[in-house]
């Protein structure tokens, strides 16, 4: 009953599709049922606010002009108290605010209660990367570069499907915000939070250009971190790419890591876990580049020096603060519990393949 009262009210059409004011306020990217709900509630509040603003400012300007001080500085006598008027302007706004509250609560429940039959995914946040783990355990291997050259992941999402995200952070508080979905929720380090939505249809006429799925329509949305989390907070972003559900299922299947060699697995782990701080082309980032690093002798912040070998790489992954390469901040989080011994081995094997300083096997046996 409440649903019908609010969703088909007289003001619900004020920010309809293609509405110039809606496009000015929110932009044209809005996607999904929840976004419409939020825009509609916002529009309702907007028109009420506009009404009060125009009345108040209109009276202020009118009376300022009308009662500008003339020859004598004495005010006209008028009542300075009116019980009926004062009661009215207390009770009427109270009624409006009560409706506003219920509309807002309804929209909030829409976001926090996951739709039935939702596809469940895990969101992992860490300074300064997003990861999404799909139902088959796979992760996206596709990357895009921000203007500042930081690499961010592209997360494929099924269009017109119910999705439930279970979110956790491994360091500080982050916040999951896809502005086009018109909702966000904090990602906590000590407990799961959830974000449920039914994704909208694919709008626009973009088509995937290369790869096995070329020609498939898609639409991109930004994912931002909305809770301040340090140096690269403003670049803790990702692309949420909506594709048709069948295509999405095939793409995610292709990302499964079963049957990869250690070097291939290491390369994939780098893309997913390490690329935002460690480049492989020699450029300087938050951490040292892996290009030519393995086998090189590095100086550490404590003044000592040593060769980057298997033991150092493992130590740096599990206890990064122990020995930090000089010239870099102590920013890395420990990956104990996140990367297994198998993963570490894979990373070491991959690092060897991109370093000229690595002398394979010669003289060791």
């Amino acid at each position: 009953m409440m649903t019908s009262l609010f969703e088909h009210g007289p003001l619900s059409a004020t920010l309809a599709e293609g509405n110039a004011l809606r496009d000015f306020i929110f932009g044209t990217g809005g996607s999904g049922h929840h976004a419409e709900m939020v825009e509609e509630t916002f529009a309702w509040i907007f028109w009420i606010s506009a009404f009060f603003f125009v009345v108040l400012m209109g009276l202020t300007v009118l009376w300022s002009v009308q009662y500008k001080r003339r020859a004598t500085p004495v005010a006209l006598v008028s009542s300075s108290h009116n019980t009926v008027l004062e009661t009215l302007w207390t009770v009427i706004p109270l009624g409006i605010l009560a409706v506003m509250f219920f509309k807002g609560f309804q929209g909030y429940l829409d976001l926090s209660v996951a739709p039935a039959g939702a596809i469940e995914m895990d969101v992992r946040a860490a300074k300064w990367d997003w990861r999404i783990i799909y139902p088959n355990g796979a992760e996206s291997t596709e990357r895009e570069k921000l203007g500042s050259a930081k690499e961010i992941p592209i997360f494929y999402m099924p269009a017109e499907s119910p999705v439930k995200l279970r979110m956790i952070s491994s360091d500080v508080i982050h916040s999951f915000w896809v502005p086009d979905f018109r909702g966000k929720f904090d990602v906590m380090p000590n407990r799961y939070t959830y974000y449920g939505f039914t994704s909208g249809p694919i709008k626009g006429d973009k088509k995937l250009e290369a790869g096995p799925f070329a020609g498939t329509p898609y639409e991109d949305h930004w994912l931002f971190c909305a809770e301040y989390c340090g140096d690269s907070h403003s670049e803790m972003a990702a692309v949420v790419r909506m594709v048709p559900r069948e295509t999405w299922a095939k793409i995610v299947d292709g990302w499964s890591s079963a049957g990869l060699t250690p070097v291939e697995k290491g390369k994939r782990l780098h893309t997913i876990q390490c690329a935002s701080c460690h480049s492989i082309d020699g450029s300087k980032n938050v951490g040292p580049s892996w290009k030519d690093m393995f086998g090189k002798t590095e100086t550490f912040t404590d003044g000592t020096s040593g060769v980057v070998d298997d033991a150092y790489v493992r130590e740096s992954i599990y206890e990064p603060a122990k020995r930090i390469v000089a010239g870099f901040p102590p920013q890395m989080q420990p990956y104990k519990g996140i990367l297994s011994e198998d993963d570490v081995t894979a990373i070491i094997e991959y690092m060897k393949t991109i370093s000229v300083n690595h002398k394979p096997a010669e003289g060791q046996k």
Binding site: I25, G27, V38, T41, I45, I48, S49, F52, F53, L56, L59, T60, W63, Y67, R69, T72, P73, V74, A75, L76, S78, H81, L85, E86, T90, L97, A98, M100, G104, F105, Q106, G107, Y108, L109, L111, G147, A149, D171, V172, I173, W177, P179, G183, K184, D186, M188, N190, T193, F224, C225, A226, E227, Y228, G230, D231, H233, S234, E235, A237, P330
Partner: protein, 587 residues
Amino acid sequence: MSTINHHGSHAVGGHHDEGSYLAPKGGLVSTMWAWATTIDHKKLGVMYLAAVLTLFFLGGVAALAVRVELFQPTTMVNGKVTGQVFQDAGGAVAAGHAIYNRIFTLHGAIMVFMVIVPGIPSALGNFLLPIMLGAKDVAFPRLNLLSWWVYVVGSVLGVVSIIMGGVDTGWTFYTPYSTSTDWDVYMRVVLMIGAAFVLGFSSILTGLNFVVTVHKLRAPGMGWFDMPLFVWAIYSTAIIQVLATPVIGITLLLLIFERLFHVGIFDPAIGGDPVLFQHFFWFYSHPVVYVMILPAFGIISELITVHAHKKIFGYRAMAFASLGVAFVSFLVWGHHMFASMGEMASAVFSALTFLVAIPTAVKVFNWVATLYKGSIQFTAPMVYALFFLFLFTIGGLTGLPLGTLSTDLHLHDSYFVVAHFHYVMMGGTIISFVAGIHHWWPKMFGRMYNERWAIVGACLVFIGFNLTFFTQFILGTRGMPRRYATYIPEFTELHQWSTYGSFILLLGFLVHLFVFIHSLVAGRPAPKNPWGGLSLEWETDSPPIEHNFHHEPLVKHGPYDFETTVPPHWDPKDYPIPASNFTADKH
């Protein structure tokens, strides 16, 4: 009653030959010593004013630095970083962002803890509260001096932390970020948190002093409902300061313990709960939003009535609205955490939040209604008061979609929030603070200022402010998160308009600075009552004598009884207004 009589007996015939409180005492050194150790509420008020304005300048420079950095997004063009103004020597993008993060933290921490919270109560409140009540000083003048020096110590701690390299926690110190950041340089963050802790004591002591002063030192004949509304506002503020500030004191102390001794209260890595910190923090920091805005309400009530020569509409509603806001402000802290709490808590806090809108709206209605059939004079303070109505109404109304749960989950931690609280905190508090300084400047320093240039400055501030912050509402609804050192290219144009606006704002404040300096150097002497006000401060000399009044005032009319007190053919050049509160040699 005994206090009043006691106070009165001192006043009788005691101060006929006293000079201005500003008169120097001997040489430069002894004059400075006299100021540093003064227990005169007026001198303390003036010192607070100077300190707050200096820190406002420092915080403003940080704000401009933020706007300059955001003029362009940071991009990599042919392997070279462009569009990043603040860069680390190493040239890494992230290290440059780290500098930006320190600058916005500096801006927030200075503006909140050192400027807006203490600003109006400590500077104007200290100067005016006793005079408006007809008293010689606050109830505990020595405690007042202590508050001042505690404020100085707190501010110095904050500035030292900045000189040591600054902190990047944001002014909200959210855990576990604040317990883990800069772990190689512990003391900076501890110092900044310590600064906020110490500043809290200054707040508590000042608040305590004001509460007692209002209760015990009202002049004979002045009942509670004969007090000027500025006094009501400062009184409500003082109650919040006394009740809420200890909570932030404890919270900040726990945060320091957490950093130094790893106690495990807030940091989940050692068993704590980061949301607990947010509850503690906002339990103080939300009421403090009203510590920041209630004094502004008080100023606007004075300005609109005096410059419109009109009795305030709904005096009692105004007084109770101040108290109502103060009360409800303790019950709404959770609306800062809609994105991290459960459904039940969110629903309750959202509903309570809407309650605070009612007394606030009533105040705006009353101010506008006061203009009706008034006699409005467009002086600089009045122009500012009208600008306040415009800006604060926008600030208040944009609070509605933030109190509404579903829209808040989109707008939370976006530029919409940034714009909203700047419309309230700057468009509300700072604008009314500047308005109040103009209104009481002749009283404080005994000199008039150039009205025309003051109005030019006000208009520049108004235009610059709207350009700077209205653009940010749109940035927010379109998806720009706050505390970002760079952004996606779509947002560039609006950010550039915002930056242009911030420089117009700077120009406006520079005009004010020159108007004030010119007034101190060459302003014509101010009369006792330049605006024709009826509250007691307009019946003492400009500047007041050391003990405020030559005779103890006996209050015979209310502070806003313009219609019954001002005779029909009164000429503004006739000072003071006839039917004054004073009766010569009444004893």
